[in-house]
């Protein structure tokens, strides 16, 4: 293979200059001549029947143009990525605090807000359902016609009873992980208007414009071609903008008023209304032989999906698929339940079920290694999956498995190799507290399915244009959420067209001008869009050989279909391709104050070949920050279905003082045969292993196993005091 000129290097991001100048127009920045401000009347209760909605006082507020309720939804008053069980505007019942009951559109935001306060809704308040176990009982009041179990699954491989009988070590623990907010810096926002061709256009912040288009058209009863959706840039998403947020509400206002409209959610409204990371309880029993071979994994996984389905089913599927980590286990039994409650509502979030499962299985792995007095990394290496092995849900791993390579690389790394020294060292400012300072090093490994998995349409179409001046334009409908994908696309296009990077332009996420490249989720875009770019480039080069470039240039389109596993175990289950990673974390605990500091993290990531190196490292470091947040700070709190912390004063995010300077990202480039230049994806793997690596480091430091996240200073103190007794 000839040397690569652009792929694998460190170019400047295509959008960096516009962003540092403050010139890039985000969805919340868009303003249109004559636009109306839209505000939402949200439910006053986590669970209630709506008796009546009186909008007369709101409509009378000066400047208010319309107040819309369920009767004003012309099409199907329902949406949802997988199951359309969520009303655009509720008419008879509300199931969580974020449910929309009415919309107000006014000449000013102040008038719209005043009118919101004057919409009178009479409710018959119902008892909120807050406990998933109780919600599963047959006599529990049903939140949806099909009952409260959205999805369940049972998978078995071998016989766990036999496995446990043979085991020298059996570890049983119950884990609890919290609801997590994506906390993208830009809240959900957008504008809507009729464009010149009469299409109802929504410029917003979603992660898949073609699906948004379908969801809007269905709710408004419009043909698809009458709806246009764009979403090239937004201020972060991480899965939280995958489901519909503001899009249908905006479209509805423009549909009724024929005027442009604008919406920007306040932070409180954002946290209350959008999907979250599923809170989950996970019961695990795992066994290993005296010689350190994993013999059995039994688990029961219960995820609280909240009020509506969104992607709760597929998230549970991935939780089950990844329940045994990247390990070869002869006997597995997993039961999973995704359950409706009135606790907000959950959906896609970086890791997509793997995040939760990884916390549990990697804690179990550590406990077993301890019980066997084995090195935790060696224990993992000895049990790791290889190509040709049968995975936990009993299907064959048919593509390259990079798990072992990441574990071995971690073992060679500075942090693990010289962990004794790191653990003895004391930082300057903790020296005076020396007797109370404890340090620990922890590891965690994981795998993460790439793409949507079996049974779901998963393809990427792109258009490549070569213009007479030698410039190349890539058109793809995926969104630039911050991950740097557009830069990676441009690098791949430059490489395969043999042009300098400066000659490549990327046009993104517009149902009118870009072909359907699929979702901007599931670690898939570099792989999927990249493959389509390579295919289109081949076709384009052939065209260029055949004919002259006219004034319009030459355009070609190609579609790449993601290869999938040859068995189907459920929606999106299983995957054919996985990314792999091993994280090592060093923590310092002050046993007098309970304070925890993460001092260093090393990330060994197999996302195949790295295309955009700076972006790869940046994502990894951001993943470390989110993993620290999940381990130590973040939890959406409820009191009987009512949100308690809806802004950053009480929902605590990691700051520059909480994330270590010492983050080392090491690419373990196991080149994927089907990947563009051997690339896969890394946007989820980079976060998932961080949290359990921290939990394992805490155990190493103070000898305490935390099974409930987040671990706060008071939890450390309580544990330390209990041990002293």
């Amino acid at each position: 293979m000839k040397a690569l000129k652009t792929v694998g290097r460190r170019p400047r991001r295509l959008d960096a200059e516009a962003k540092v100048l403050g010139e890039l127009v985000y969805p919340s920045d868009r303003c249109l001549e004559g636009m109306l401000w839209v505000e939402v009347v949200r439910s006053a209760h986590p669970h209630a029947r709506i008796e009546s909605v009186d909008t007369s006082a709101a409509a009378a507020v000066a400047g208010v143009v319309c107040v819309l309720t369920a009767k004003d939804v012309p099409g199907e008053n329902a949406f949802g990525i997988q199951i359309q069980d969520m009303p655009v505007l509720c008419h008879d019942r509300v199931r969580y605090m974020g449910d929309a009951v009415a919309l107000v559109a006014a000449e000013s935001r102040a008038a719209a807000r005043e009118a919101v306060a004057r919409v009178r809704v009479d409710y018959e308040v119902l008892e909120p359902i807050i406990d998933p176990e109780q919600a599963m009982q047959p006599d529990a009041p049903a939140l949806h016609p099909g009952g409260n179990i959205l999805h369940r699954g049972h998978f078995q491989k071998g016989d766990v009873e036999v496995g446990f009988k043979k085991s020298a070590v059996i570890i049983e623990r119950a884990y609890q992980v919290p609801m997590m907010d994506h906390a993208y810096l830009e809240t959900e926002a957008g504008v809507s208007y009729y464009d010149d061709s009469g299409s109802l256009t929504v410029e917003s912040c979603g992660q898949y414009v073609y699906r948004d288009q379908t969801q809007i058209a269905r709710a408004l009863g419009l043909p698809l071609e009458k709806v246009r959706v764009t979403a090239p840039y937004t201020g972060g998403a991480f899965g939280g903008k995958d489901e519909i947020t503001v899009q249908i509400h905006l479209a509805l206002v423009t549909y009724h008023t024929k005027r442009p409209a604008k919406m920007v959610l306040s932070r409180d409204e954002s946290i209350v209304s959008h999907t979250k990371r599923h809170p989950a309880r996970m019961w695990y029993k795992t066994g290993a032989s005296k010689s350190g071979k994993l013999l059995a994994v039994w688990c029961r996984l219960v995820s609280d999906t909240g009020a509506y389905a969104s992607l709760g089913g597929p998230v549970l599927n991935l939780m089950m698929e990844h329940c045994a980590g990247p390990y070869l286990v002869p006997n597995v039994s997993v039961d999973g339940f995704a359950v409706y409650t009135n606790n907000g509502f959950s959906g896609a979030f970086r890791g997509f079920g793997c995040t939760q499962a990884c916390v549990a299985i990697e804690s179990q792995m550590d406990l077993m290694a301890r019980a066997l007095r084995r090195d935790p990394l060696a224990f993992r290496r000895d049990n790791v999956l290889h190509k040709g092995d049968r995975a936990a849900l009993d299907y064959e791993m048919k593509t390259k498995v990079g798990a072992e390579a990441t574990i071995r690389a971690a073992g060679r790394g500075k942090l693990y190799r010289t962990r004794g020294k790191f653990k003895r060292d004391r930082s300057e400012h903790t020296r005076s507290m020396a007797p109370y300072i404890k340090r620990g090093v922890g590891v965690a490994s994981q795998m993460q399915g790439l793409g949507l998995g079996v049974g779901l349409p998963d393809y990427a179409e792109v258009e490549l244009n070569f213009s007479p001046d030698g410039a190349v334009t890539v058109r793809a409908s995926t969104s630039e959420l911050g991950q740097g994908a557009y830069t990676a696309y441009a690098q791949m296009a430059a490489e395969c067209m043999g042009v300098p990077l400066e000659k490549v332009r990327v046009v993104g996420a517009d149902t009118k001008t870009t072909p359907d490249s699929g979702t901007t989720t599931a670690s898939r875009t570099t792989y999927a869009v990249g493959n389509a770019i390579l295919m289109a480039a081949g076709k384009l080069r052939a065209e260029l050989d055949k004919r002259a470039v006219g004034l319009e240039g030459i355009s070609v389109r190609e579609t790449f279909h993601l290869p999938v596993a040859d068995v189907k175990l459920g929606d999106g289950l299983p995957h054919l391709l996985y990314s792999y990673g091993t994280h090592v974390a060093l923590v310092e605990v002050n046993t007098l104050t309970g304070e925890i500091a993460v001092l260093a993290v090393e990330a060994y990531l197999d996302g195949g070949r790295v295309i955009f190196r700076t972006g790869f490292e940046g994502q990894s470091e951001g993943g470390v920050a989110q993993g620290i947040g999940y381990a130590l700070f973040e939890e959406v709190l409820f009191d009987r279905g009512r949100f308690l912390n809806t802004n950053f004063d009480t929902y605590i995010l990691p700051t520059s003082m909480d994330v270590p300077a010492d983050i080392r990202t090491v690419p373990v480039e196991v080149k994927e045969d089907t990947g563009p230049y051997g690339a896969k994806g890394v946007s989820e793997t980079c976060m998932v292993g961080v949290t359990p690596a921290i939990l394992n480091a805490l155990h190493d430091a103070i000898g305490v196993r935390f099974t409930r996240l987040p671990v706060r200073a008071e939890d450390v103190l309580r544990a330390v005091l209990e041990r002293r007794r």
Partner: protein, 165 residues
């Protein structure tokens, strides 16, 4: 809504080196004046309560959260926003350049605020330690980067500015 809320005051201030005068209601936030009255949308809103720093601008040399700053308070003061940071030759300022160079930009929504906080820091303390940089950016949240490349950009900017002196 009481009458005092709608009461307007005339204010005049310097914005990015140019004089500006307008009439604002007493309770208006500086952020809304910048974004909606003056159309300068480079200053972002992330939380609306001074926790995230996305709306950081510089008033009389100090970094402030424009979402907490009453617009009438800028009367007679000098305000600098991200739009006013370019060099006189209309080139990216040193800080903007190093943010691009270090890969400190991902979604970019925190970037204008980060860059303004950096400018305020380096104007005050031209040679900060890494800890001082991290402490100065404590009020600016970033959800994408993990701060490493941002701190690197600030350090690099300090070095480059030092050489210019």
């Amino acid at each position: 809504m009481g009458p005092e809320r709608n009461m307007k005051t005339e204010i005049a201030f310097t914005l990015n080196g140019f004089p500006v005068s307008l009439s604002v209601s007493a309770h208006k936030r500086l952020l809304d004046v910048l974004r909606y009255d003056l159309g300068l949308t480079g200053t972002k809103e992330g939380c609306g309560e001074g926790e995230c720093g996305a709306c950081t601008v510089i008033v009389d040399g100090r970094a402030v959260n424009a979402c907490l700053y009453p617009a009438p308070e800028v009367d007679g003061r000098r305000v600098v926003t991200i739009e006013g940071l370019m060099d006189p030759e209309n080139e990216l300022s040193v800080i903007q350049k190093t943010f691009v160079q270090s890969g400190a930009i991902q979604c970019g929504f925190c970037s204008p605020g980060m860059i303004m906080a950096t400018k305020a820091l380096l104007d005050e303390n031209p040679d900060p330690t890494d800890e001082e940089i991290r402490a100065a950016l404590l009020g600016n949240l970033c959800r994408c980067t993990g701060y490493v490349q941002i701190v690197e950009a600030v350090r690099l900017a300090a070095e480059k500015l030092e050489k210019r002196r």
